[in-house]
Each structure stands twice: as C-alpha cells, then as structure tokens.
C-alpha cells in the first residue's frame, strides 16, 4: 500500500486512489464533529447553525459572548462593579460545575492511581495467585453498563448516607477509573526487566527503596498516563453523577447534559470548545509519555 508500483494497472490505480478517498471520508467523519463546534461557538446568534454572515466571514456574525456567558450565567449581578469576582466564584453555574469537576476528578484520580498502581504491580508478578479472576474483577467496572453501576451505587449509598455527598461521588469515580490505571500500568510492566530489582536488592536496598528508586521511575510514564485516563473518565462521567449528585454538586458534563435537554444555548458549544482543547492537551501528554516510556525501556518505534 505504501506507494504505487510503476507496473500498476489502471484498475489498481483507480482502486488505490478511491480507497484513499474513502479513508479520507472516514477520517472526516471522525474529526468533523469535533472541529465543527469551534466556529459555531463564536456565533453571535443563539443558534447551533451557521448563519449567512458566518459563511461570508463578516465580522459582526462572530462574537465571544458565549464564552463570557460561561462565567456570567447564574451570577447575581453580572454587571456590578463591586464584588464581581466573589459573585462569579460563588454563583456562576458553569464556574461551580468546573470547580466540582476538578475537585471530584483530582481526588478520584489520586485514589484510583494509588490503588490501581499497587494492584497492577501485584498482578504483574508471576507468583500472583488467581491472576485471571482478580484481573477480571478489577477490569469489570469498565464493562458493566454504567447505568447498573450508577443505580447500584445510588441504592446502596443512600442507605448508608453516602449518596449526594462528595466522598460518595469520588469513590464511584475512582472505581470507574481504576481499570484504566491497571491496563496502562500493566502494559508498562510487561517489558519491565526484573533483573533491575534483583540488582537493587543485591546492592542492599529494601523492597520499599527498590520500588521508589528503581521501579517507580521506570513505570512512571505508565502511571501518569493511567492517571490521565482516570481523570478524563471522571471528568467525562455523567451517568453516576446524574443519580448520585445533588444540584449543587453538578459537574461540567452534568451541566452540559441538562443544558442539552433544557435550554440549548451556544454556551454549551463554548464549553465544548474548551473541553476539546483540554482533550488535545491530554492526548499530547499521553503520547509524549508513551514515547518516553518506550525510549526508557529501549523499545524504539520501528
């Protein structure tokens, strides 16, 4: 497929180019919906569609009003001079959602990463008993339909007073994030050279020191990308939040969910654009980490 040989027949040539066009269309299908929100979020009109003016690139058709709306929506006095910052920090709906998302996301990521990394190291050891069963159990939060997880957590947590609380949501998100941590850390450990830990032990380091000085730096890229996966899982999760959170605990996706259902406004598109930028940043970080990890382990890409 890499390049067309000079002896290719006409039919092969036609197929070669039409196949590339087909793939191009599929890539367009993948990427177009993500790109399209960016120009639409600058629409001056409160619609989800391109206006005449936008297509003619006239300046009046574009504005940043929906970005301003992110911080203003829900404020008591958005035009007041005094106490504007405090008002925004306290009352703006989206600002509260952003605060909630980061609060829940960071704590559930810490919990998921700590527990998941330890478990992955245990699972990667050849002596681990019941490896298959334990792995199946630990990956299952990714497989079980979210609505069942959410309903179960809501039902059980409301009986012990954990529903509608931050610890409850954080625990739920941590459970959902751990499979990703396990998968990424296990993948890093597959190529791990165990003679390094033996060398460290023979030089007199105890297991804890060996872990932090030898093993951890080597698997760190895997741990960080697992943590990023866990964070994005929590950051993007809405089904559990729908059931388990009360209105003041709304996260960004929850706010978007009700925004789409109730009052559809381009503010959602502005938020979506910001989220796309965040996901590009996360993707770039994970990609760099993966390359670094491959380099550290001496596995260069072809």
């Amino acid at each position: 497929m890499a390049g067309l040989p000079p002896y290719a027949t006409t039919g092969e040539r036609v197929w070669y180019y039409s196949f590339r066009v087909l793939c191009g269309l599929i890539f367009l299908f993948l990427i177009a919906p993500i790109i399209i929100v960016v120009p639409l979020s600058f629409n001056v009109e409160p619609y989800f569609s391109f206006t005449e003016g936008m297509l003619n690139f006239s300046e009046e058709a574009y504005s940043t009003r929906w970005y301003a709306d992110i911080v203003r929506n829900g404020m008591a006095a958005p035009d007041a001079e005094q106490g504007w910052w405090a008002d925004m920090w306290q009352n703006a709906q989206w600002v509260r959602a952003i605060k909630n998302s980061f609060f829940i996301g960071i704590f559930s990521t810490l919990l998921a990463t700590a527990l998941g990394t330890l478990a992955a190291i245990g699972l990667a050891r050849s002596e681990m008993p019941f490896k298959g069963a334990v792995m199946a159990l630990l990956i299952s939060p990714m497989i079980v339909p979210l609505v069942i997880t959410a309903s179960g957590l809501f039902y059980a947590f409301s009986q012990i007073g954990l529903a509608k609380t931050y610890p409850g949501i954080i625990m739920a998100h941590a459970v959902l994030g751990t499979p990703f941590v396990i998968i990424t850390v296990t993948a890093t450990l597959v190529g791990f050279d165990h003679s390094l830990t033996r060398a460290s032990a023979s030089l007199g380091a105890d297991p804890v020191r060996t872990f932090f000085k030898v093993q951890m730096p080597l698997i760190l890229p895997g741990v960080i990308s697992g943590a990023l996966f866990a964070f994005i899982t929590s950051f993007d999760e809405v089904v559990v939040v729908l059931q388990l959170a009360d209105p003041t605990q709304r996260t960004i996706p929850r706010q978007m969910f009700s925004g789409i259902r109730e009052q559809i406004s381009p503010t959602i598109l502005a938020v979506a654009t910001i989220l796309v930028i965040i996901s590009i940043a996360l993707l770039a970080t994970v990609e760099l980490l993966r390359r670094r990890s491959e380099r550290l382990r001496g596995m260069s890409p072809q």
Binding site: G116, A119, L137, D236, M256
Partner: protein, 437 residues
C-alpha cells in the same frame, strides 16, 4: 524474588562439591532447613506479597462496586412491601390454596392490617396497593378506597367489603395479593421478560399490549448490532490504511483516531446535534447540493438514526485500535508471496490477509457491542422516542417511577447478558491483551 536466596554465611566454592558428595540426604539451605521447604516458604512469602499489593484495590472494588450492585440486584427477587405492610394477611395468604374462596378471617386480616399500616405510616396502604397493582391493575384504587373506609367497616367483613367494592369478591385480586405477599419471588424478573408470574407458581405471557420490555431488549440488541457492523465497515479500511502506511504518516493519522477517543462524549453528542438537526450543517449541505428542498429537510436527530450515527462515531475508535494493533503484526510478505504465486489482488486479500485480521475484528466487535448495549447518554440526549434503549428505561425506573425492583430486574437481565459477553471476550481475546491507545 530476592528472598529466594537464603541469608546466612556463604561457603567458599571449593567447599561446596565436597559437601554434596558427603551428604546424600536432602539439599539443605544455609540455615539447615531442607531447601525444598525453604523454597516453598519463599514462594509463599512472595505470593502473599503479590496478593497484598492487589488486596486494597480488590477490597475497594468489592465494597464500592460489587457489593452495591449486588444489593440493588437483590431487590429484583426480594420485595417485602406487602409482607411489611400487611403481616397478618401475608400469613393467611401463605396457607391459602389460591383456588377456594377466601374466608372471613382473611377479610378481617386485611382490614386490621390496613388500619395498623396507616397508623404506622400514612402512605403505607397506598404503597402496598401499588405493589399489588403491578400484579393486577385496579388493585391500587381498591386499596385506596378500602383504606378510606376501613375504620367504618364492621364484622362480618366479607359482606361489608364486597358491599364496598365488588372486586373483593373476585378471586383474581386475592391471587394477585398472594403473589405480592411472597417477598422472595421471581415476579419482577419475570415481568422484566414480559412474563406474568401467577399465584399457582406458573409463568404466562403478558398481555401483548403490555409487552414492552422484550421489544426494548430487541431494539437495544438491534442498535448495538448495527453500530457494531457499522464500526467494522468504517474501521476496517482505516485500520488497514494505518497499518500499511509508513510509521511517520500513520502516527500522525492515528491522532485523528485518538482525538475523538479523548474528547468528552457530551461534546461529541452536542456536535452531532449541531451537525444533524434540521437547521444543522448536514442539512445545509444537502440543501446546497440540491439533494433536498429547503422545506423538506431530513430529520436525522432525536430518533433512531441520530442514535445510530452518534454511537457509531463514539465507538469507532474502540474498533479501529484493536484492528490496527492486529494488522500491524501481519507481515506484508504473506500477501506478496500469494501474489507471486499467481493470486489476484482480491484472492490475496480475501484468502491470505483477511483471515489473519479475524482476531482483531473479534476483539473490536465484542468490545464495541458490550459498550453499545449498556449505552445511556447518547440515546437519552438524541434518541427521541424510537431511539430509547434499555439503560434509559432502567434509569427511568430508578429516578422517576422509583420502582427499584423492576429497575433491578431489568438490570439483572442486562448484566447477565453483558457478563456472558465479557466471559466470551476473555476467552477469545484475554483481558490482559486489552490496550488503550
């Protein structure tokens, strides 16, 4: 690993061969214990250590995931609303054969229980009535009516109650109460499958007009299947292109696959609304090209089509990534060899290349199918009427109608199906081989 080598003073190398020649008994470790036992001990310790590392997470997952789901699913077979509200009636109904006419004692028990239940909690008789109503419609109004007059009724209760409402003379209502009085019963699981559990302990099909769940399960399966096939159709060419292009180009193109994977599902669903709505981008393009008139724009969102398109887009990376990782390992020389032996392009692809990609298709298809079958967000936002899936109904019962038992029963059926697929995935692909990006 390190503790297999036993501690203790080391003997010089010259000493060792002599020693093994002298002693013909079991090999001893440095401290005198047999080496076999020492090794077993060391192995035990490292096994414990490995398990100790995994234990915190296992406990966490059991407590914050498995146990809550179990508690909920238990509600599918256990519902004590009736037994709790009407203890005396429950006792008598258990002895009753469900064929003979109910006797005076049973009528009296209903009245005593109703009065007592109302004293305990005002809404309790209504709750009990609602529970019986699930078995036979009309029971709720019967219970409400009887509850209002209960204090004024006098013995003999049988005549008084039949006088109050003829339904009390109908044995079908008593049979419904008998079913409701069994706290542990398959009634809810049966109703999740559109079956009716009768007082005789048999199952019969629900009235066709009330059969909604099987239809929903079928639609969920249908949507998941179409989405899976669509992702194979769209993912296969892309994965093939990525696997055959030089690494530098394919790494760049791979970003186009990974970016949607990292973008919020809400964002992608929102943008599909912007794309597909009647004043949306796609319809604008269609009108501009002339495929359709301005006043006859296609309705592509808030229905099944919208759900299918958005779900295919969201799940496509889950198909491309496993396919790509399988295709990358297929040596291009196989196809070249086939061609040099006289195979046409098609034969070389179909007979040589395609069979080697089957594991990738299997891995991707099962993963996409598992994720699709429990999908909630996209159908809830863009599904409209005919794009609703089973997850949405479960959520409805949990949050709106508060019928936890039915939600649990529907969830149980869905979960059994998903776990079967999960088992299949483990058998075919192996959970260890799951990769991300």
């Amino acid at each position: 690993m390190a503790d297999i080598t036993a501690p203790g003073p080391r003997r010089s190398l010259t000493e060792a061969p002599q020693r093994s020649a002298e002693t013909s008994g079991p090999l001893l470790a440095a401290d005198g214990t047999p080496l076999r036992r020492k090794l077993r001990q060391a192995l035990f310790v490292s096994r414990m250590r490995a398990m100790g590392l995994a234990t915190p997470l296992v406990l966490f997952v059991l407590l914050a995931f498995v146990f809550p789901i179990f508690v909920l699913l238990w509600q599918a077979v256990y519902n004590d609303t009736f037994e709790d509200g009407m203890p005396r009636t429950t006792e008598l109904l258990a002895e009753w054969d469900a064929i003979s006419d109910p006797d005076e004692a049973m009528y009296a028990a209903v009245i005593t229980d109703l009065i007592e239940a109302r004293d305990r909690e005002r809404a309790l008789p209504t709750k009990v009535g609602a529970r019986v109503n699930r078995e036979k419609s009309g029971s709720l109004s019967l219970f409400k009516k009887t509850n209002r007059r209960a204090q004024r009724l006098e013995a003999p209760f049988k005549e008084a109650m039949v006088d109050l409402d003829k339904k009390w003379g109908d044995i079908e209502y008593w049979r419904a109460m008998k079913v409701a009085s069994q706290s542990v019963s398959p009634a809810f699981v049966a109703s999740a499958l559109d079956l009716h559990y009768t007082a005789d302990g048999t199952f019969e099909w629900e009235d066709p007009k009330r059969q909604i769940h099987l239809k929903l399960f079928l639609r969920t399966l249908e949507i998941s299947l179409i989405v899976t096939l669509a992702t194979i159709a769209l993912g296969y060419p892309v994965a093939y292109l990525l696997a055959t292009l030089p690494a530098r180009v394919s790494n760049l193109l791979l970003i186009l696959v990974l970016l949607p994977f990292w973008t919020s599902i809400l964002v992608r669903t929102t943008s599909w609304i912007a794309m597909l709505q009647s004043q949306g981008v796609m319809n604008d393009i269609f009108v501009w090209i002339g495929i359709t008139a301005d006043d006859q724009r296609f309705s592509m969102i808030y229905n099944k089509l919208g759900t299918l398109i958005a779900m295919t887009h969201i799940l496509l990376p889950f198909m491309i990534l496993p396919l790509y990782s399988v295709m990358k390992t297929i040596p291009p020389s196989y196809v070249r060899a086939a061609k040099s032996l006289g195979a046409t392009n098609w034969t070389a692809f179909w007979r040589i290349y395609a069979p080697q990609t089957v594991p990738g298709i299997g891995a991707g298809a099962i993963l996409v199918f598992i994720l699709a079958i429990g999908y909630y967000i996209t159908p809830a936002l863009v599904g409209g009427q005919d794009g609703v899936m089973i997850s949405n109904i479960i959520d409805d019962h949990m949050r709106k109608s508060l019928n936890y038992s039915l939600a649990a029963a529907l969830g149980l059926v869905l979960l059994v199906f998903v776990l079967f697929l999960y088992w299949l995935y483990d058998r075919i692909v192996g959970i260890d081989n799951m990769k991300l990006g």
